[in-house]
């Protein structure tokens, strides 16, 4: 599978990583190289094999649906790049 510049631009957009237009051809070439390496997987006969979902055969533990912690607004906001009046602050998202 060869990735073209348009696909590289789309992947960068989906990944929310800004890539300058001039850097897209190099990115496309790198991604193509990696995907070519992955294409060896097409040699494997996977008929009747289910995709592996859990590493060890165990049932995920359940717990009661109750609040177990809370009241730590200051701790939650302590590392925020921009926190105001008890909230995370971001650029305006609605007009």
């Amino acid at each position: 599978m060869s990735i073209d510049t348009d696909t590289a631009r789309k992947v960068a957009k989906l990944a929310r990583i800004r890539v300058e237009e001039a850097d897209l051809p190099a990115l496309a070439a790198e991604l193509s190289g990696i995907l070519t390496f992955m294409e060896q997987l097409n040699e494997v006969d996977v008929t009747g094999i289910e995709p592996m979902t859990s590493v060890t055969p165990m049932r995920l533990a359940r717990r009661a649906d109750v609040v177990t912690d809370g009241d730590m607004q200051a701790q939650i906001l302590a590392n925020a790049p921009d926190a105001r009046e008890g909230f995370f602050a971001v650029p305006k998202v609605v007009e």
């Binding site: 929310r16 800004r18 995907l35 992955m38 097409n42 921009d82």
Partner: protein, 497 residues
């Protein structure tokens, strides 16, 4: 401090320090001071990226107050902690600019358990950014340097746990924590002549460890001896309700399992690991290791793990896929770096600029590969196919173990440590080949351990890997203990830093 510089208490094993502390031959404060002095004299290795001497001395004083025959094994033992572990109030950056300034408000389960057992933290250790790399060169702090040096070249300590490996090998701590997603404990251990163990998936809690690929990540000990790995794993392991994949199983006494008796055990030698282009010295080392186990009374059995060849490509679909999801949280809102925005920039520009500035090249590459293989139209062709192949790789091991194999012996790495910068112009896939012997273990969720077994012609350490049955870390450690004793590896790097 008594003794010559190279035999100071910082060079001790955990087991020796534990016994000396219990006898009252040394205090935890003096032991910690010796390590802090070595740490400061080791800045040329760039192993420590955030030093915590005040915390270390506070913890050492508390350990001295607790000292006695009933104190836990790790009471007063100075450790280095990989930067991937969240440590309360101490920078925890995963060697990434996107987490610059992040000081967790909480403690990872592993570090909480170690500190609860009386361990002392000397500081945080260098690594590849988000644990993505095999040479420590993707770190935002610059690479850690291998203390082994045989010519003018500076060598990589391996990665991703390169700072941990360098610090243990250079005696800048007694032992260190590492994490292993595709070989990140075992490859650096082999490159630096130390012991590194990845436990069974679910043995050690992942809570509070910055996530890379959640179905592959496991934390483990990086130590000077197999006995130390047994002691330290005992303190790190155990069920944790905060990690839903943590196994609710009792933790055995791993040190007690080191009997040195492996008579009648069956050791598998997988033929698919005889890959093309493997250096003759590594092939010879593998043969020597096989002979050592045979001489100890084990039965050597040729086995086949037919899907081995497909482990690397499967890994490089699955790991980036999981990483792209895990790293979506770095958005410049809740913690870490946020890009400076231009007038009129909205939230999308904030995400895109923040992630472009905060993530290094390799991390960006993997996030984008992961995004691609999970995107509509390719999910089945890449991601689901890789997960099917993963099931086959796991089945290969299950069949070998069902046939009565107790442990599998392989090389740990396809080469000795290489020079820093030597891979700078290589294709990313060439760097990925470092993991060829180790990724299968993560894909199958098995325990694996790297043991130093010899030196190459230039004098650089080489290691072998033992792979165990799921949950049989005790048996695996005993095999490793036999290999370690037979190999008698005692070489240390000459101090030049």
């Amino acid at each position: 401090m008594t003794g010559a510089p190279m035999t100071g208490p910082n060079t001790w094993t955990i087991a020796a320090a534990r016994d000396a502390l219990r006898r009252g031959d040394i205090t935890a404060v003096d032991l910690t001071m010796a390590c802090l002095t070595a740490m400061d004299a080791g800045d040329g290795l760039n192993a420590y990226v955030h030093k915590t001497p005040e915390l270390a001395l506070d913890q050492a004083r508390a350990a001295d107050a607790r000292r006695g025959p009933d104190a836990p094994d790790l009471n007063g033992i100075p450790l280095g902690i990989k930067d991937l572990f969240c440590t309360k109030g101490v920078p925890s950056q995963a060697a990434s600019n996107i987490l610059r300034g992040f000081r967790p408000e909480y403690e990872s389960t592993v570090t909480a358990k170690l500190f609860g057992a009386g361990a002392v933290m000397l500081g945080k250790l260098n690594m590849d950014e988000f644990a993505m790399g095999s040479s420590n060169e993707s770190s935002c702090y610059g690479p850690a340097v291998n203390p082994w040096k045989v010519d003018e070249r500076l060598l990589t300590p391996g990665g991703s746990s390169g700072g941990s490996a360098a610090a243990v090998a250079a005696d800048l701590c007694l032992a260190a924590t590492g994490t292993d997603t595709g070989g990140s404990i075992r490859q650096p251990a082999a490159f630096t002549g130390i012991v590194g163990m990845k436990p069974t998936y679910g043995r050690v809690s992942r809570w509070g460890i910055v996530a890379f690929a959640s179905s592959l990540d496991q934390a483990g000990p990086m130590t000077k001896t197999v006995r130390d790995a047994a002691i330290m794993l005992g303190a790190m392991a155990g069920h944790d309700a905060k990690d839903s994949t943590s196994a609710n199983m009792a933790v055995p006494d791993f040190e007690a399992a080191l009997t040195g008796d492996i008579r009648g055990r069956r050791i598998g030698i997988p033929r698919e690991y005889r890959i093309d282009g493997i250096p003759a010295e590594i092939a010879a080392l593998w043969g020597n290791g096989t002979a050592m186990l045979k001489n100890a009374g084990a039965e050597i059995v040729d086995i086949s793990l037919p899907h081995t060849k497909y482990a690397l490509p499967a890994y490089y679909v699955i790991a980036p896929a999981e990483a792209s999801s895990n790293l979506a949280r770095y958005d410049g809102v809740r913690y870490g770096h946020r890009a400076k925005l231009a007038l009129g920039d909205g939230i999308t520009e904030m995400y895109e600029k923040t992630r472009a500035e905060g993530f290094g090249k390799e991390v960006q590459r993997r996030v984008m590969v992961g995004t691609y293989v999970l995107s509509a139209g390719f999910y089945d062709a890449y991601y689901n196919r890789a997960r099917r192949v993963r099931a086959l790789i796991k089945r290969d091991f299950e069949r070998a173990f069902a046939d009565g194999i107790d442990a599998i012996l392989t090389p740990a790495t396809p080469s000795p440590a290489f020079g820093l910068g030597e891979m700078a112009n290589a294709d990313p896939v060439e760097m990925y080949l470092n993991d060829v012997f180790t990724v299968t273990v993560n894909l199958a969720g098995l325990p694996g351990i790297a043991v130093p077994v010899g030196l190459d012609a230039k004098g650089l350490p080489l290691g072998l890997q033992l792979i165990g049955r799921p949950w049989d870390e005790a048996g695996l450690l005993n095999h490793a203990y036999v290999l370690e004793r037979a190999a008698g590896f005692v070489s240390k790097p000459q101090k030049w830093w």
